[in-house]
Subunit: 312 residues, 2 copies
């Protein structure tokens, strides 16, 4: 299982290859929350999201022979861009399987980082079968978007940096989709701030992590509906045990609260965050009694938004 030493190794491995993002504060939001909020700004990360950390760790952890054959994944989101850019940084091929209904702008971004794209039917079965073909043909290493130890360790470096800068946090929050960011955040927080509560935030329309934690087993996400399109996936096998051990609670948040929190950050902090990034702030603002007077770390996961289609 992944441990804190893996996160430290990841931090050393990705140093200079990803951005060390700033930790920002905002007096207005502190007043609104009745707490001290410390925002780790992964919206400023390369490719606009924390995914660059895990992908870079996974690509640079490979031995030279494996890396030379390239890396592969199926994704229509930030992980595909991150893996493509990380592969380019190492100078090795990247193969990305994308569904035929993926937005043209996302295909262009992945192609722009030099990856070879294989288009497939927009079903999970087709994605997996196509990926298998690509891997068989190229010998590339499959890098899963979250159910992968190097990915989990890489994503944990954001919380490692946050807690190095602000060691005495009472709560640390991360959003949860597949659980790569959350598992990494949990391991880093438990090691660096043993007394801190680790909280996940999740949209009500995609609350499979909340139900999984309650049930004690992974309950798959079925027909999730949420504006936070980064948080649609089910928990991974490698992610769930870490989350179950360390995460104190999962706070669910309604659609309207997510949009209001996102707009509040745009208006008052003057930074662009995507809906998935606003889930934690929305959760904090909805629970004043739980956060009153506390020092709260929040991972802002990314800033990739279609500016022509804003949710207000």
């Amino acid at each position: 299982m992944v441990c804190f030493a893996d996160i430290e190794a990841a931090a050393a491995r990705i140093a200079g290859r990803v951005h060390r993002t700033p930790v920002l504060t905002c007096a207005t939001l502190d007043a609104r929350a009745g707490a001290e909020l410390y925002f780790k700004c992964e919206n400023f990360q390369k490719v606009g999201a924390f995914k660059m950390r895990g992908a870079t760790n996974a690509v640079f952890a490979l031995d030279a022979a494996s890396a030379g054959r390239g890396v592969a994944t199926h994704s229509s989101g930030n992980h595909a861009q991150a893996l493509a850019l990380a592969a380019r940084l190492r100078g090795v091929p990247a193969y990305v399987v994308m569904p035929s209904n993926a937005p043209a702008v996302k295909r262009a971004a992945v192609a722009g980082y030099g990856a070879e794209i294989t288009v497939c039917e927009p079903t999970l079965a087709a994605r997996e079968a196509t990926l298998d073909e690509v891997v068989a043909r190229t010998g590339a290493v499959f890098v899963h978007p979250y159910d992968n130890e190097h990915i989990i360790a890489g994503q944990g470096t954001a919380a490692l940096e946050l807690l190095t800068e602000q060691p005495d946090l009472d709560l640390v929050l991360a959003p949860v989709g597949g659980g790569g960011l959350l598992a990494g955040t949990a391991l880093a927080t438990r090691a660096l701030a043993p007394a801190a509560r680790i909280i996940a935030a999740e949209p009500v329309g995609a609350d499979d992590a909340c139900r999984s934690l309650a049930a004690g087993r992974i309950i798959p996400s079925e027909n999730p509906r949420t504006v936070a399109d980064g948080l649609l996936t089910s928990l991974g096998e490698r992610n769930f045990p870490i989350i179950r051990e360390h995460v104190a609670a999962i706070w669910t948040v309604a659609y309207e609260a997510i949009i209001a929190a996102m707009r509040l950050v745009w208006e008052r902090m003057k930074i662009i965050i995507e809906p998935s990034s606003a889930v934690c702030l929305a959760a904090v603002l909805a629970r004043p009694a739980e956060v009153a007077g506390r020092r709260v770390g929040i991972i802002l996961s990314g800033g990739n938004v279609d500016l022509a289609r804003l949710p207000w």
Copy 2:
């Protein structure tokens, strides 16, 4: 006339009362411009704009007896908010004359900082007459938004900070409206980077500064039309001589280029800037031969945007 020593005094006076904003860079924009761009982020300043620097300097430069009677201005924009907040920081009254057609959100913001608002007819004559009445009634000190030495010196502290962090800039750009920011930027740049070219950027629909510089006298802005609503005003009497002495050129920019530059900053830097802030980047991108290989400082003046009415 204002000199660099006034800017140094302003920096000492406002320290701890305004934010020391970050200087950000963006590899994508550097590649697009063919230059090294250093963005001084006044969109992160208190009240969301550089105006807080000048207003704070003006309020805290007053002797105790004058300050006790308060400060007054007529403005519907960022200066009114900045003066109101600066007065609150010193614990003295602020009086703001606003036209009856000022947006409700702006009135609410000024009132939220504790200023007393007097509404007048939306004409320049009514604004000035109403301000005179307010000053006569209260004994408050009128603080002009830009044609004021303390304001010019205060606005110059942004460039002072930028050049302290990045001393070897080849060009420094600021947008020009009334000329408070530009005059202060010019004085700071001439003192700290004597060889740097000082450039102003101005929308084509409000290019009175460009025409004034060509004519050698102030040519008032008449019926200006631009999306950059912070840049509508004519040059001030105290601002023009400084600009004429130090500013090498005024680059004008078309509407479409301003909007494209604004959107580029939102998408790639993940920060919110207002149209007036995008004018300098638009000017740089339109003149590749003039900036190729140069180190370019750009003052991003503010980030106050109505998110429900974006220009794309």
